[in-house]
Symmetry: C2
């Protein structure tokens, strides 16, 4: 058996500690599969004292992850420091400078700096791998990079923020409003320190940007992802959607179109009977559509100690086996600058608005849509306790988002609406 | 860019032609991803004349795939000849003898001869890869071999024969009996020339044997798979199961237990609301459970030109990139001989029987179960047109299959049954 692969683990939070514990518990199994032992030689974290469920004294300690990355007895640096800059980035840069391969779970940093870091690593013949950064234990990076490598990718979709999916399904199941469930999720510790990372779609948007780069051979471009959070999704929207056979999901979609790369992370309606529609709770799902393979659905835990550590180890064992893959499936320097599509492809939209109960109000709203060239597929007016306001739900035929936004602006100007309409895209999933 | 990887394609049926067409159509994309061109230099098939949708004259022709495998201008042999012996095996052996890597979609041959072929290939430093052999376009071989390499595998499950799943869901949706749907499937060309390969669970059993080998580091042992086909599943079973919140699936399950490797391919009841229960039509699903990652669900097309060709290309591009993996995730020579579990782990069972409408009949049946130490969870007696026969459905608490079989034998001996009871395992899927 060959020499051991020696790891330096930077960051001993839940995931880092999980990686160390699995490597201790499954040393023989992993050595058999990797063809060589995989062992941790050094670790680094903010505080040394804490009980992490394993004997820290078995490993060399570094206060500074940058020094960890420079150690002679480390072949591969596992970066689990977190943060889109600062020590995490310094650690990866140090690893590259010292000729170490890198495995990271840091989606924010890769979405913002992945292009330059991958280029720097690859220029030195190093691997920078990130399975754990996207959808936790779901092997979507590997599936897209390797399993679908013979496909032109038609569409990448994903429910990749477990907290948002938890909130949306909990709202539906318990009949609770967004604010209440948000507070619950916060109390349960499900939300990031800055909750807009979750509910604003930013975290999931980071992940989508990374998958899009692999799928389309384009430079990582987080700015290209149109973000819309779930904050404005109401229990009413969820119920109306359900009545019509849909579920509301924070859905990421990336497609290459004639107008450029379309990438968006937004609350969408998907058919209730589809795998995406059936996904409840914090579970994640990635859907990959290739011109040859058709639609592949991958489902699993998107976060947590075990699933994320499993994904980290997938990359570590890949490198231990001698597999050398480019970060984004082809050399980072060969990725092209993708044109950003100025708007999403046309789709049916769900519209919810509150009409003032005046004669002709509905006609005015309908006229705004008609003037914008948007036709109406279905319309429902619901019972309402407040006699002066009528909740109206519309489903349009396929419409472009700019046309829809223009129509909504005109509707607002008519003065017959109370509040702002909610518009949710219906993502089409033909079978 | 490096030298091209030169392929010899043995077998130009649907899948082989699909591989050639994709390599022609996506040459640039694949070269960018593989880091080098991938091109077909020679092909072989039974008849040369046929129109296969591409220009055959672009490639050297061999009548004999064994001669194809010996060609100097072939680096990698793609074996799509089919059959668990004969020319397919000769082709792979020739490829090994001439130092060529091999990619195959041939589950039957690998299930029966994979151990010796992998050992022979690996002894010469060659790759023998088979993503396309299991569940078509679903990247389950890669997921299990690589993505879950840091996990002790708890259970591997799969619906891996699309024809059987088509038959079972069609029976339910159309309310048609097995024989009628079987005839339909046959007319549609969905069945193998020998249909017991499909409905007898043999084809899916081959696939399970291969996954079990990767999961548990055991030598390929198709004989260890307990096979039970779907021929005895009636529309009544499907309806009763549905009434109780289950679906009937031809489900493969492999687990390593204290009693050895348990591997079975049999019709089982699974919760209707689970991803497995929701799987309808010819779609396949593989469920992998690891101690760290939890449950990963992979869903996609299990057959067909595009999906299978996509899987073949996944292996081809892997090799073009320079990745060298063992056939079963660790050197074949290091795989251990697994003990075969003498019986499956205890589970609840669904039992359907026809009782003669005599006083005391039900008591006698219940006593047989009681004597075998099996307790009854639920019992239903259904309306029946024929007054002399009462259809009875029982769901037992967890029971061992040998105990259940003994109880069924005793029941039959009581003389109160008409025909033989049907016993279907309820596979537990806690969430």
């Amino acid at each position: 058996m060959s020499d051991p692969l020696r790891l330096g683990i930077a960051g001993l939070g839940t995931v880092g500690a999980g990686v160390v514990k699995i490597l201790e518990k499954r040393a023989d199994l992993i050595a058999a599969r990797a063809g060589r032992p995989v062992k941790v030689t050094a670790v680094s974290a903010r505080t040394q004292g804490k009980d992490r469920g394993f004997d820290l004294s078995a490993y060399a300690w570094e206060d500074d992850p940058v020094r960890l990355a420079a150690r002679d007895d480390v072949d591969l640096v596992v970066e689990l420091v977190g943060g889109d800059n600062g020590p995490a980035k310094d650690t990866i840069e140090a690893a590259i400078a010292h000729g170490k391969d890198i495995v990271t779970a840091n989606k924010a940093m890769l979405a913002l700096h992945g292009q330059e870091l991958a280029e720097a690593a690859e220029a030195k013949g190093l691997c920078l791998r990130f399975e754990a950064a996207v959808a936790g234990g779901i092997p979507c990076v590997k599936a897209l990079t390797e399993s679908l490598a013979g496909n032109r990718i038609e569409r990448v979709m994903g429910v990749m923020n477990g907290t948002c999916n938890y909130i949306l399904t909990r709202m539906e199941d318990a009949g609770l409003p967004y604010d209440t469930v948000f507070a619950e999720a916060s109390a349960l510790g499900y939300l990031e320190a800055d909750p807009t990372l979750d509910v604003g779609g930013i975290d999931a948007g980071h992940k989508l940007a990374l998958l899009a780069s692999i799928a389309y051979g384009t430079r990582v471009d987080f700015e290209a992802v149109r973000l819309e959070g779930i904050e404005r999704v109401s229990i009413a929207d969820i119920r109306h959607a359900s009545d019509m056979g849909f579920k509301v999901k924070l859905l990421g979609v990336a497609r290459m179109t004639g107008r450029g790369l379309e990438a968006r992370m937004s609350p969408c309606l998907v058919p209730a009977a589809s795998p995406l529609g059936q996904l409840s709770g914090a579970t994640n799902m990635v859907v990959l559509e290739g011109d040859a393979v058709g639609r592949i659905v991958l489902r699993g835990a998107g976060a947590g100690e075990g699933p994320t550590a499993s994904a980290v180890l997938s990359d570590v064992i890949e490198i231990a086996r001698g597999t050398r893959l480019s970060t984004f499936g082809q050399p980072a320097a060969s990725l092209v600058k993708g044109t950003r599509a100025q708007s999403g492809s046309p789709a049916p939209y769900y519209l919810r608005m509150e009409l003032q109960d005046k004669p002709g109000a509905l006609a005015k709203v309908a006229a705004c849509l008609g003037d914008a060239g948007i036709s109406i597929d279905r319309m429902r007016q619901y019972d309402h306790a407040d006699a002066s306001i009528a909740p109206v739900i519309l489903v349009t035929h396929k419409a472009g988002r700019p046309d829809l936004d223009a129509a909504i602006e005109r509707m607002t100007e008519t003065g017959v609406l109370t509040g702002e309409p909610v518009a949710l895209r219906i993502e089409e999933l033909d079978d």
